[in-house]
Symmetry: D3
Subunit: 178 residues, 6 copies
């Protein structure tokens, strides 16, 4: 698989119709069901990048802004932002449409991380990704910082070693002080 | 609802059997399905605390350590750690058992946040919680710090205002320097 | 598997949220769906006792007292009461909570029987159980009587050989007559 | 609804294909899923008899003789045997076919009881049934005895008042003794 | 498998209860879910005819006359009309009952085609069918004409070679002209 | 809703992962499940065009070329080709990807017809569509011919009145004869 891999190679567009069993007693989409949609879209993106079986390694902070009602159409777009050895970060963006009211708005976005594995479930290296547009490059750069936060939250990195992440706190302070 | 609310009042024990449709092509539980289980357990905990309809507001960073195979038994335990106006933080702990091998191990834990709403979906205040044991008190205290991280990640708080959270970076540094 | 087995080793707590597809046209949980919940909880209890694959052998009489509405939380507790060669009797107790009204009541209970099998589906012996509390001992004793009723209803025992069971009719009569 | 009601008016034929999510780790149909199939067939029979919404009131003893493998075809036939005020007893017979081996055999049978209710869930009277064939008449007669066993098992009848049922024990004894 | 095969050997009766997740926002059964029911019934008919694994090869034009509401009972009857080498045409007839209103009416009918395959998925010959009644013979004859339309629509036959089908257009014209 | 409607306004991209319960005993996607996917994508396209609730009116001939295995990714693209009073024809194109083998191929295509309805289920007029590209115009023109075939197959048009459709038979003949 020596072919050079671009962000667009991993692009996934998914459309889901909110059905009764997906909703809570207010007839709104349950958060866990939305996470399920996001995981499937993101896993397919990761598989498109590495052409391997992938397993979900982590889910970053996700927040849900407002209720999504029964009968709404949920559109997801996901793509790999960067790979690290055997892992891939995938960005997922979600929009919600109410087709009878003809409205469409951004619902939320999230980053999921996947690990490529062989048939025995052991991690296996994945190809690097080549960001092309400015937006893709920004996601590619930001991936380092998000990865450090993940490592700290998982207890695998000491906060003072998180150079990329610390900058947020110090820089913000400096900026404000000056 | 003047009754004093304790952590144990919101305790939920949930047991799920991993079925074929919950698994990926390696016959392992898909991450999104696990998030779905966690969301349902956590939502019931939040409902037990406030006796109101609740909606998922956010999901904190979750990481998945190892594959959970088809036929495994997943046990979830969830409880409210602290409430803030109309929102409640819920801690979810997950264990996995392979009953034919008689093994049981901690899989992961996570924090989900829920908002109590009225019949029109508008936020409504929830009662405070009274932590009793040392462990409950530790989760209660930590809730402030986790909340600041959530607010920063959602762009609702400036990093330099996150007093609770900054301590992690500064203190860690001081500790190491000294 | 020389470890001594107690009732508490097979204890399962399960929590289910009643979703739209679980309900009939009155928005009440369908009896068959409840039986499905009970079977899963009970099968996990039997598996915890014998650490083998188990198959449902029989379901004793179950009665449903009142409707359980959409959005209710169903809590099941199950445990092995006694084992016989390759079979285990499991008691399942069900409670229903309406969390917005803050009510919780016993819904029903039932006994399911499971057989432990090897990979080819052939019956295989299971360990005996050691009842500890008075309540556990009462279920252990009653298991003999319930087993005789099962054997008669399955046409595998002549009614006049059901010593344990006949006592119900004769004793009751004697008690009343005296 | 003055039309005279016959057993054939409530006849339901149902065919189910055993799918992966219906099976346990031996790839056999789970008992609880079978109960779910039986409940749906039986509920439709009861609805055909009374043209009302019905709710499951009780399930009689069911035993499962042998494993039913993934991909099998399960055929159910159900019909009302007798009605009592607001309740109806439904007999369900189940066959299993392995279409690639061209085998078909009786799996099991069971009796479920349903209650007809109005829109508020209150019991409402149902029409009597008119058994026509000898087989239908035998089921009609047996319904009395099965009902007494249900009432005893539910603690609603004293064993010594169960005239129909007691006969099983006494008569069997007499028959054997003579 | 030298046994002579009749239409009645492949007869399947299926009954489905329309559940919430099967319905659209008008609470009517979705067309795609109905197609799913039809495919399962028809596949079982084809399997009964050939005692082989079968795969759906094509679906003929299906039209849906009117909405089928939540809680309705859908009854399907399917049977093989004719076989061609490795393929079988199956006719499916669908009725809808509203049991609380005691109405039953024909909903629609359709023809699905299946191919029998071996364990590797390669086509394998199936036995001929022996129509017995006049109705069965009419479906048997019509199968040729429907097959030509399928071949044309799939681009596998030139319209001018479709002798059976062309008759519809020419004969109809002649009939009208005369 | 005076806005001019284009084909691109109704474009839907849907991605589905083939799960165990979607497959038959050969581990291939069942035809009926594929129809279900197609119906959902197409219904969303129709809703995007008319911003109304829509119901499936008919499904044109669909053929399935080869098996789609468990774990494959199915990609659907659908769009409205033409509207007629209250009905809309939607074209659905399906591709199948095996991501571990990095293959993608066209699976099949189909035309579904939907009717826009008001809250009582009565048909309601939909806006015309404005085809822009040559491909869109070709689908727009072909829609007339396909509609005549549908009307004939539904018995709502006499074959000799199907001017658009008859041309296929006559022209083909002429072409061959000349």
């Amino acid at each position: 698989m020596s072919k050079k891999k671009f962000v667009k190679d991993s692009m996934v567009n998914m459309t889901e119709f909110v059905l009764p069993n997906d909703t809570n007693t207010l007839n709104n989409l349950m958060g866990g069901r939305m996470m399920h949609f996001m995981d499937i879209a993101a896993a397919i993106s990761a598989q498109k990048h590495c052409n391997r079986i992938v397993v979900t390694a982590s889910v970053d902070h996700v927040s849900f802004k407002k209720g999504i009602s029964l009968g709404s159409v949920v559109t997801l777009r996901s793509f790999v932002t960067r790979s690290f050895n055997s892992s891939m970060e995938v960005r997922i963006e979600v929009w919600v449409e109410d087709l009878t009211r003809n409205t469409k708005e951004k619902s939320n976005e999230a980053y999921f991380t996947f690990v490529a594995v062989d048939q025995n479930g052991n991690p296996i290296n994945v190809p690097p990704i080549h960001p092309e547009t400015d937006v893709e490059k920004a996601y590619y750069e930001g991936a380092l910082r998000r990865r450090q936060l993940r490592l700290i939250l998982d207890g695998k990195m000491e906060p003072e070693d998180a150079d990329e992440l610390k900058a947020i706190f110090y820089d913000a302070k400096d900026t404000k002080d000056s």
